[in-house]
Symmetry: C2
Subunit: 130 residues, 2 copies
DNA sequence: GGTTGCCTTGACGCCGGCGACAAGGTCTAG
DNA sequence: CTAGACCTTGTCGCCGGCGTCAAGGCAACC
């Protein structure tokens, strides 16, 4: 399988696949003319990468998952390193949710305050607009 | 007030103030030697910008707040354009919270699945490690 | 041999809010 | 006179995951 076919089957671009390769995530053999040649297993690897990126992982976080797949596991999630990353990400997401809730409260307060004081202050705006 | 003093009083850097100026958010008069000269009102403007950035707004979103302050309002939040931005941001934050909750569910499921299947698959890992 | 369609490496662009450095002018104190 | 503490404009770097050329080689068909 050449890079174009893998890209299409994985739903991504050739540029992306070469990028993953430079970062040590995807591997390819080379044919006599220098073309990259992939076997079926790499399709699973690329799909794993894409799925994890979609969830919000960075490429560095994804390494252990790929290593886990290459070690012969059906899923990249089952190895200790992967689980550690999953736990860390879960904590990060929790923290992110908390932060967004705080921001949300802040925004609601500011909106409430703005609407309360809209009448008195915006009359001045209307005067200056004329 | 020169740029260094404003930067210190606003808790930011001179680079940042010049950056805001190039983007039309902060204004300065010039003294005879070309130095930027700020009046007290700009301090409030800069603090407003910093507060909104901290909440997660981008500089473009902040423009109406600054305009509102310059129009003579005590708060930059009370003008219609500002309120519109606040509402939009609130919706974005809600969407972000929903997305993070979805990610969180996904991570929890993957963690549960990983731990369930850890025993059977990691034995293979241990064998290859030796 | 010419066209088309695959492949190769290399390098710049993007987004946003600055940090950091360069090379110089200005003002003040000693 | 000089040191140093301000100020000026200009430009490159950062982060991450690519998109998008550019310039060229290889393969296959007519």
């Amino acid at each position: 399988m050449l890079i174009g076919e893998l890209a299409e089957r994985a739903g991504t671009s050739t540029r992306t696949l070469r990028y993953y390769e430079t970062h040590g995530l995807v591997r390819a053999a080379r044919s006599a003319n220098g073309y990259r040649v992939y076997d079926e297993a790499e399709l699973h690897v690329v799909r794993e990468i894409r799925a994890l990126l979609a969830v919000g992982f960075g490429l560095e976080d994804i390494r252990p998952f790929v290593a886990c797949l290459r070690a012969g596991n059906a899923s990249g999630h089952v190895c200790p390193d992967s689980v550690a990353v999953l736990r860390r990400k879960l904590a990060e997401v929790d923290a992110g949710i908390d932060r967004l809730h705080a921001v949300r409260r802040e925004l609601r307060d500011q909106l409430a305050h703005a609407i309360t004081h809209r009448e008195e202050t915006c009359s001045r705006l209307r005067r200056t607009a004329r």
